[in-house]
Structure formats: C-alpha cells, structure tokens
C-alpha cells in the first residue's frame, strides 16, 4: 500500500543531501557561476555522481543504486531548496528512465556511463515555445538504411554541457527518438542562458546522419520510451519546485520575524500572518501531491499519469505564489540583485514552463476527471 510518509532511509537521504548542498551548492554558488558567465560546474556534478545521485534511477545491474522515483524526488527537492545547478534532472532522471525502457546492450552501457558520471544527457524536444512533444515537426528523412535529421530544437535544458542528446523527430512511421552524441557532424549548439542562469541551449541539426543503431526504442514509437521519461522528469521537477518553495518560504518567514516597522516585527501584522499561513497551507498540500507522484511511479507507473500531472500543476502554482509573496513581503530589497529572492523567482518561472506548464497538466488532470 502506498504510504505518504517518508521512510527512515528517505529521511536519511534528505538529511545527507541537505548537508552536502548547504556546503557545496548554496545559492551563492549559482550566483558565482552566473557572475563568471558559466552555466555548470563539473566538479559539483562529480561530487553528486560520487554520492550515487547519478545512478538513482539506474538498475543495479547497470551500476546504479536504483533508489527509485520517490528518492529522486527527494534529491531534486533538496537541490531546489538551494537552487543547486546540475544535469541531474536531464541525465539521471529523464534520460535514465528513457534508456531503461527495454534495456539492450547499447542502452545498458549508457546507463552504466550515466551512473558512473561519464555521460551527461539533454532532451532535445521543443520546437515551439510550449511543451508539446507530439507536435514535433523535425523531419528525420530516410536515407538508404539510415536517416538525415534537420531542424532546430529550442529550450534544450542542460544542452550546452550534454555529451549526448535524445532528439525527437518525425520519421515516415511516426515520432522516433534518436540517441545521438552531441558532437556528431551537423550539430551546432548555441548557449542561450535562461533567466535562471542555468544551462539552456538552442540546437541546430543540419543534415545530421543517424542509423538504426541511433534509434532508442522502436522507429515510430517514441512515446513508449519518452512518456515514462517525461513523467519521471515532471515528478522530479515538481519536487524541485516544492524544494524551491520551501527555500523561499523559509527566507520569507525569517524576514517577517526579524524586520521591524512601526516598532514591531512585521510578522505581528495580521494581514501578513494570514498570507504567510495561507502560503504554508498551499505548501503542505503540494507536498502530499509531490510525494504521491513519486510513490506511484515506483509502485504502479502505468497508473501514474494523473498523479504526476497533479504534482507538476500544484508545484508550479505553489512556487509561483511563494516567489510572488516572497518578493512582496521583503519589499524593495526583494527586488534587488544583491538579494537571493530574484534567483528563486527566475528559476520558478523556468521550471514552470519546462516539461509542461500549469495549463498543460491541468488538461491532463481534467481528462482523467471526466471534463
């Protein structure tokens, strides 16, 4: 039976992650990278790999720890709390889940390399400004025994640092996923740092050659591989957003207690108390949805779609409320670059769009609920 409480192991995992991230990747770390014009930190990812985080969804036979989606969510949540930047979601969650769908010797090797930190992945998916995987137009036209891919992918998260790309393209038989090395001839990456200072790239494919060996799963059956991978990513991203929310909320409540106006802490004002209390209620309710999504992906993944969309929608909305209230309650200082609040607000906006926004997921919930 699914239990919506964390196990002793999960609490330990969260504590360990929190201790590490507070030391190695506080928000100041992200600020430092931004100021230096960098979008990633190989050393930080290396430490995460050493702790087994890269293998969280990799089977033990392929060298992973296979801790499951609830555990991946806990790691993502803790990373969200300090806005730690890493290719965790793209590589360890999304790509690993995609590669697990029918492991053969090639995907098995790659899972091994993900777990050991030798491979970083990105998902080259969107062509328009909204997440709409089944609408991909990029053509992979037949060329002898192989394919030729041309077109542009936008909003490729972790795309600049990735060693390999999962590219979604349209073949004569339907949508197909290609697992390509990022350095293959014809691939050009444009680093276009997003507002949250993290790795987002635009990727051009100009007559890129691919063979049947480059196809992940079956030709024309991309969603068999990608649907579980998206759900894994969406659930983990929802967890990241819930961590982000608790990070903002902690800052805001701390400020309410310490900032004085009219001779009293502003947290004594009922208006602000009630708004803070409402926000806390929203965070609690979202936490249940996030944990439930991870649990269902671990126990009954074929029935997890509703739970995952519920979690992503709720987490998106709650994070949005938390950053808006965070800035407002901090007053002018909340708007300054010197203060960390803006980093939360920008990350929340990017995460809201990635892998489906509120409306995208609300529509999925609605479909399940008879609308």
């Amino acid at each position: 039976m699914v239990k919506l409480v964390e196990t002793t192991d999960e609490i330990l995992l969260a504590d360990t992650a929190r201790g590490f991230l507070d030391r190695a990747a506080p928000i100041a770390h992200l600020r430092g990278l931004r100021d230096a014009g960098q979008v990633g930190d190989d050393a930080l990812w290396g430490e995460m790999v050493a702790m087994g985080w890269a293998g969280v969804l990799v089977p033990e036979a392929q060298g992973g720890s296979d801790m499951g989606h609830a555990a991946a969510g806990i790691l993502a949540r803790e990373m969200g709390r300090t806005l730690a930047t890493s290719p965790f979601l793209s590589t360890a969650v999304i790509a690993a889940t995609a590669l697990r769908q029918g492991v053969d010797s090639r995907s098995g090797d790659r899972l091994n390399q993900i777990a050991s930190g030798q491979l970083r992945y990105a998902i080259a998916l969107d062509e328009t400004s909204k997440f709409a995987p089944t609408m991909a137009e990029m053509q992979a036209r037949r060329d002898g025994n192989g394919f030729r891919l041309s077109g542009t992918k936008r909003f490729v998260v972790d795309g600049a640092q990735a060693d390999r790309l999962l590219v979604l393209a349209r073949t004569d038989d339907g949508l197909t996923v290609f697992d390509l090395p990022a350095g293959r001839a014809g691939i050009t990456r444009h680093v276009t740092p997003a507002i949250d200072s993290r790795d987002v790239a635009r990727i051009d494919l100009a007559d890129v050659a691919a063979t049947g060996d480059d196809v992940l799963g079956k030709v024309g059956d991309a969603m068999a591989v990608l649907a579980p991978a998206f759900q894994a990513g969406q659930a983990a991203l929802a967890a990241e957003l819930s961590g982000l929310t608790s990070g903002v909320f902690g800052m805001t409540v701390g400020y309410l207690k310490e900032r004085k106006q009219f001779g009293v802490p502003i947290g004594a004002f009922q208006t602000l108390q009630h708004r803070a209390a409402h926000l806390w209620c929203e965070t609690e309710i979202t936490a249940a949805a996030v944990l439930n999504a991870g649990r269902l992906l671990d126990t009954t993944p074929d029935q997890a779609e509703l739970a995952v969309s519920l979690a992503k929608a709720r987490a998106t909305a709650t994070a949005q409320l938390a950053v808006q209230e965070g800035v407002q309650m901090h007053g002018g200082i909340g708007m300054t670059d010197a203060f960390d609040m803006g980093f939360f607000m920008k990350r929340a906006r990017v995460a809201a769009e990635w892998l489906g926004d509120y409306g995208y997921h609300a529509a999925i919930v609605a479909r399940h609920r008879g609308f």
Binding site: M1, G267, Q273, H274, A276, I285, A287, V365, G370
Partner: protein
Amino acid sequence: MAQDLEQLRTHWRAWLETNCPDEMRDGPASEADICWGGANWQFASEAQEVWLRRCASVGITVPTWPKEYGGAGLTRDEEKILHQEMKRINARTPLQSFGIWMLGPALLAFGSDAQKQEILPPIARGEIRWCQGYSEPGAGSDLAGVQTRADDCGDHWVVNGQKIWTSYADKADWIFALVRTDRDAPKHKGISFVLIDMHSTGVSTRPIQLISGASPFCETFFDNVQVPKTQVVGQINRGWDVAKYLLTHEREMISAGGALMGGGRALGAVLADSETGNSDPILRADAMRAEIDGLAFGLTLERYKDQVEAGGSVGDASAMLKYAGTELNKRRQELIMGAEGSAALEWEAGLPGSWLRSKANSIEGGTSEVMLGIIAKRILGLPG
C-alpha cells in the same frame, strides 16, 4: 504483514457482499437519508436499520475503537482496507455521529474506565445521539470565553447559561459541553468538560432558521440543571485540555466532510452532466483548478492519516485541514451552482441548500481567520 492484510481484504469483501443491502450501495439521496441514530431515531428504510445493526455487530461503525467499547479493534492500515472495500461497492457509511467523530476520541483519551464502558458502546451501536455545547452568544471564536456556569453543590453541579450553534441539539439525547467551574481562575483554567442528559429538568432547545432554509443549528438553554459530578470528563477545571483535543478531531472531521460534500463527485463529471457547464470556458478553467486543488487536498488527508499511523500527530496542522477543506468546499459549491445555472435556483432542486449551507463551513468549528491565526502563531512561530 502484507499477506495478513490481503486476507483481511478477502474477509471484508465477502462480509460486505453478504451483509450490505443493495439499497445501501449508493450515497444518501438527501440529508434525510443519512443515518444519525439516537434513542428516538426513525429509520428511513428497513435497509438502513439492517445495515446499521449488521455493521455495529462486527464493530465497524467505529472500526479502530477497541472491541470492548463496540469497535473492531482495527489498526489504521486495516481500517484503510475496510474502507477501500466499502468504497469498491459504494457502501454507505452506516452511521454518522458526533459521538463517533468527537466525543469518542476525547473519552478514549481522557475518560474514566467507567465512562468509557458506559458511554462508548451505545455510541458505536447508534443508540445515543450526542450534540456539542461549545459556542455561546458573545464567545464565538473566543471559545475559552464561555460563561455558562456550573456551581458546586456537593455531589452535583448546577448549570445555568446558554449555548448557541449546537448542531442537532433538538434531536440529541445528550450534550457534551464546556462550562465555567471556576470564575476566578484565568479563562482557560476554570473550564470543565461535562456530559449532560438533554432530558434533564431545565434543558431546552430552539432551532435557528438558516439562509439555507434548514435548521441544523439550535440555541440551547440551561436553567438550574443538576449534573452529577461523575459526568465530568477529565479533571475539574482542566476541561480546556479535553476541548482542544476534541477540536483537533472536529477540524479533521469537518475538513474530510468538506472534501466529500456534494457527493465527492469529480467536478468534471458534474460539469459534463450539466446542461452548459462544460462549454463555459471560465467555469471550466475554474473547475479544473478546483479539481486539482481538491485532489491534492485529498492526498494531504491521506498523508496526515499515514503520519498519525506511523506514530506522528497532526497537531496544529489540523487547522490547515479545516481551513483548506472548508474553503475548497465553498469553491465547489459555487462552481456547481454556476454549472447548473438557473436550474439550481429552485428550492426543489436541492442544490441551493448545499450551497448556502457551505457558507457556514468556514465559520463553524473556528473561522478560517482563526485557523490562519493558529497556523501563523503555532506553526510558523510569528510574533503575537
């Protein structure tokens, strides 16, 4: 463990299949169709009576209470299995009762052995209907401000005063009430929790007509009512401890009820069945948001139940459940009225009653503002 639970599932599935009358495999058609029990209870149907008796005979009107007090002695895990199996055949809750939701848990925690043995089994069997005497005119959310007084007369108390918003007092057999037993003590310290027979000389009630046209609430008056001292629960002057404990259960009950009101149907299905609801884009979008929030709230209730079962406690977070659950129900009821349009505007439609009734959700059992205050001060630690 898991295997035992599966055996239990098989057991309850077979028991329910044999014992749940067909008429009880559907939600109540109206308020009048809900079984509340009590000394003067008139069953709405033979099936309702049969269902209550059968459930009470195996302790599942109160599944987690000890067997000696009329329960089935189930763990929360086992209770969950039972509820899943009941839900599977849409079996109706056999008995609704303030005795089950509020007084029972308080007695299990604070009552004497004699009180538990005497009072709990009739609650489990649906024989005695209880009401709650907390609120008073002028007290409102400031519950510890109660003025109803109990004067010490040796072996008994004499109670004088007035309660208000006493739900179903006109139909109840007994009342559990907060009375002031020490007027000199600080206001939280001079209150006792007493049980009073509604048939005692000097007790009278008067229903309060509400905007919904119904009157679940009453005013209740005590005029020199004699109450034996054995009918105090917990220590004299320490009734606030009992009251607080009970309020936690009340908030959980109201919030769970909030999510279930309106039949607990998916809003999508409600809209789809309405004449125009599904084609109105604003209504549809609002309903989708409410559906998302409602589902997440349901999971929050599950999460808190699991926490309690794992040895934790809900504590002050019950204020969140109460606040979020009741606000959510108000949203639901507004959306349902909107979806039904002019068809919902006739009293006969039944809907306006639920809609208007829901407006009291965020007032009764502590207002939404009081709940937010509890969260701000006790959970977030914001300054007083």
